[in-house]
Amino acid sequence: MKQENIRNFCIIAHIDHGKSTLADRILELTGAIDKRELKSQMLDSMDLERERGITIKLNAVQLSYKKDGKEYQLNLIDTPGHVDFSYEVSRSLAACEGAILVVDAAQGVEAQTLANLYLALENNLTVIPVINKIDLPSAEPEKVITELENIGFDKKDIILTSAKTGQGVSELLEKIIEVIPSPKGNKKDKLKALIFDSIFDSYRGVITSVRVVDGVVHKGDIIKMMETNAIYDVVGLSINNPKEKEVEELHAGEVGYLYASIKSIGDVHVGDTITLNSDPAEKSLPGYKPMKPTVYCGLYPIESNKFEDLRESLNKLKLNDAALTFEPETSKALGFGFRCGFLGLLHMEIVEERIEREFGIDLIATSPSVVYEVELTDKTKLMVDSPTKMPKRELISKTYEPYVKCSIFTPSEYIGPLMELCQDKRGTFLNIDYIDTERVTINYELPLSEIVYDFFDRLKSSTKGYASFDYEVIGYKESNLVKMDILLNGEIVDALSVIVHKDFAYKRGRIVVEKLKEIIPRQLFEVPIQAAIGMHVIARETVRALRKDVLAKCYGGDITRKKKLLEKQKEGKKRMKQIGSVEVPQEAFLSILSTKE
């Protein structure tokens, strides 16, 4: 394919604005896929993605389209739709020259619409604005056109589509060819290929999704990853149309998959540049960032003999989830597990769910924590990603926590409740931008830890789901932080400790002990539950001792049935973790997150 006939583009949108459905329709229209074989949302290959309606992993598909007698190669790169995955989004954008910005005709412009748009502009992409779902009875395309005009688009460039009915989609394809530039790179230059995704295949090892920027990569080439310096033989190259098809080479401008018997998972980093080992490029492609998790939590197998299985599953997940980090950790309460780092809460939930579902390991997740910075009295600085790593109070001179700039996009009627929420979350008001008379963006600075801690839920409930939000980490600020411990039966349960702002500790402590009282079943002993800062107990509840647990009547005929009852009771215990003499259900470890009062 001539380079000038290639178009690399992605689709960006706020969650649920119909990105994946539009991709399906494009696949169907270019004949890549038959209507009959079209599983809904073809590109989302994981079950979990389809269920949650979120595209977690990137995917690239090659399509061909004829216009004016010329054949074009369209590479559609799907992107994750959630704020947790903004780095992955940025890398897939870097693999494109153009982006389709999809806006729901009923919902209009939302927080991530803007965030994604800015990201696309930063990557110098040509953006085609699309108003989708115009078939909906609640669609208000005129209103959305105005909104798009307000953020700098020209009305004549806006395309109206219904991915559901197919309306407007061919017009969109024409527009893609017309306005998105062909790739710029030079086939003759030294090889530079951007890794924008990787997945693990049990037969072929790590498969990387690459965009060749300059030069050509052939099957059999010896390649080098410029950041990790790993060297491999290219075993195979392929494209996805959307069935996998092997190719001999990929040249500048093209997008495809490269596999090289890569077993060492640490060698493949999203954002890294692949070059030829024998004739390497001088500089790697710009924009590489080592992944920095913002949220950490401990993951422990409920059955302690599953520790190695858990390691294995994390290793496997890491193969197609470059952002996931983990290292072994020991908890007095929970035994052996891993301290895992995630891009955000959703990312964390997805990883937990995949481990439980795909690898069949029951997990206990400790409460999530951000990374705090601690300055000791001797002036040394320390990064603390787990409450257990928090130094003793007398050794600390200052504590800092990460802050985010948070933009909440909302109908103006919810300004009041949202400001209240942000205030409650220790936020500092920055400003309000009016998009139009009914929609505003409220900007706040908030501690990241407050976002980790039930912000989403409360945002949703205080705006009936109408507000959306986006955030970026802006750095550290000094904050009066303390470690709050939870004691069960007089013993600190390390896995339940949290770092909290001192002024909020009492309230959090109360909520947590009350919640734990509900969750922990009555046992043979009375179980005192305490929240404490250092030696100082700030809240206390007691789970009273079990008084009655007996089968009153148990006659001959009932014996089998009663034994089954005891079996069930025994099974139930397997789902609990024995901490000292106390049996603690799984949910307890997340109770620290709950704010239901």
């Binding site: 043979l524 079990l546 009655k548």
Partner: protein, 365 residues
């Protein structure tokens, strides 16, 4: 060797609100057919062992007519009986007439088990039972006069809205009867009962526990021995039939919904009358592995206040229970006790026996 036999008579004149046993409303014609099938089941399965206990339970066996009872006893007369057999029949007071008692006598019944449950008006209303306390007193005297010297009465407590005072009156009444054996059951709201359907809730655990203590205290003061979670008796009057269950011995169970423990199987009969009447008796067979047997042994033995006889356990399974299960913590915290080579749950903890047993079974090494 099987030495015990249970016979189920699933008929009642009245269905109590809490009952989840296998029972049907009294119907004369069906009872005749039922007895035919029962006879057939016994003929098919009974291997002529000499029985040391027979227990006719229900339902309300005493609600059968004289003729039906006679027919039942005729069927059972073909069972070989040890000369010291304990031969029990259950019943209620109103249907246990002098005529029936004489019939019992004639066929060798030597133990009676009768439901009182409560004498309190509200309790009886809640349980949907009827009881005439004068009749109870009169009948007990009659039974004793006729030579029945092993009588059990049942009491139910922890009934919603019941107070300790009400319970105390029930206990006093029962004590006044001076019977040999008393069974005390804390009300469980089982699925498939009227109470469950009416969404009745169990009373507070604390009150339940206080009631249990009250019963234990009062009965013991009158020299009743607390020998099993729910059972008390005068010295020497432990129910041998129930001991067969608690000692995990084998037994026959004939009749609708009855269960048996024969060779390596625990068998539960169907609860469907139509199936039973077509001689399709069995609904469930549990094949027992050695581990299952051991679990049953522990679960059942620990219902007895004496607990598990460790020598007997060794002779049955060829290993030491204490080697196979880690009991140290439970013993240390006094949830289990070692006493004269018995492992037992102390009396003040027996109300927690489920939790203790489950923990013990979990600690298998």
């Amino acid at each position: 060797m099987i030495k015990s036999c249970y016979i189920h008579i699933p008929f009642c004149e009245n269905i109590c609100s809490y009952c989840d046993f296998c029972k049907l409303l009294y119907n004369e014609k069906i009872i005749d057919k039922y007895l035919d099938c029962l006879e057939k089941e016994i003929e098919e399965k009974y291997k002529k062992e000499k029985l040391e206990t027979i227990y006719i339970g229900g339902g309300t066996p005493s609600c059968l007519s004289i003729n039906q009872l006679e027919r039942l006893f005729e069927i059972l007369s073909r069972l070989n009986k040890d000369e010291n057999i304990e031969y029990t029949i259950e019943g209620n007071f109103s249907s246990t007439t002098k005529e029936k008692l004489l019939l019992y006598k004639k066929y060798g019944i030597n133990r009676l088990s009768l439901g009182i449950e409560s004498i309190d008006k509200d309790n009886l209303k809640f349980l949907e039972r009827k009881l005439d306390t004068k009749d109870v007193k009169r009948k007990i005297l009659l039974m004793k006069k006729l030579g029945f010297n092993n009588i059990n009465v049942d009491i139910i407590y922890a009934i919603p809205n019941e107070s300790l005072e009400i319970l105390e009156k029930d206990i006093d009444f029962i004590l006044s009867l001076n019977v040999e054996h008393i069974s005390t059951y804390s009300l469980i709201i089982e699925e498939n009962t009227k109470l469950f359907i009416n969404r009745e809730k169990n009373i507070d655990e604390e009150l339940d526990f206080k009631m249990y203590n009250l019963i234990t205290r009062k009965l013991k003061r009158k020299n009743y021995i607390h020998y099993e979670i729910s059972n008390f008796c005068k010295k020497g009057y432990e129910s041998k039939h129930n001991d067969c269950y608690w000692l995990n011995k084998k037994y026959y169970g004939f009749g609708l919904g009855a269960s048996s423990y024969i060779s390596n199987k625990r068998i539960t009969n169907t609860r469907s009358l139509s199936k039973y009447l077509q001689n399709d008796y069995v609904s469930e067979i549990e094949e027992l592995s050695n581990d299952d047997k051991i679990e049953y042994e522990i679960i059942l033995n620990l219902r007895l206040l004496n607990g598990i006889d460790l020598n007997r356990f060794y002779s049955r399974y060829n290993y030491n229970l204490l080697d196979a299960f880690d009991c140290n913590d439970l013993i240390k915290n006094n949830f289990l006790q070692l006493y004269k080579n018995f492992l037992r749950i102390p009396e003040d903890k027996i109300y927690l026996s489920n939790e203790i047993i489950v923990k013990l079974l979990q600690n298998k090494k």
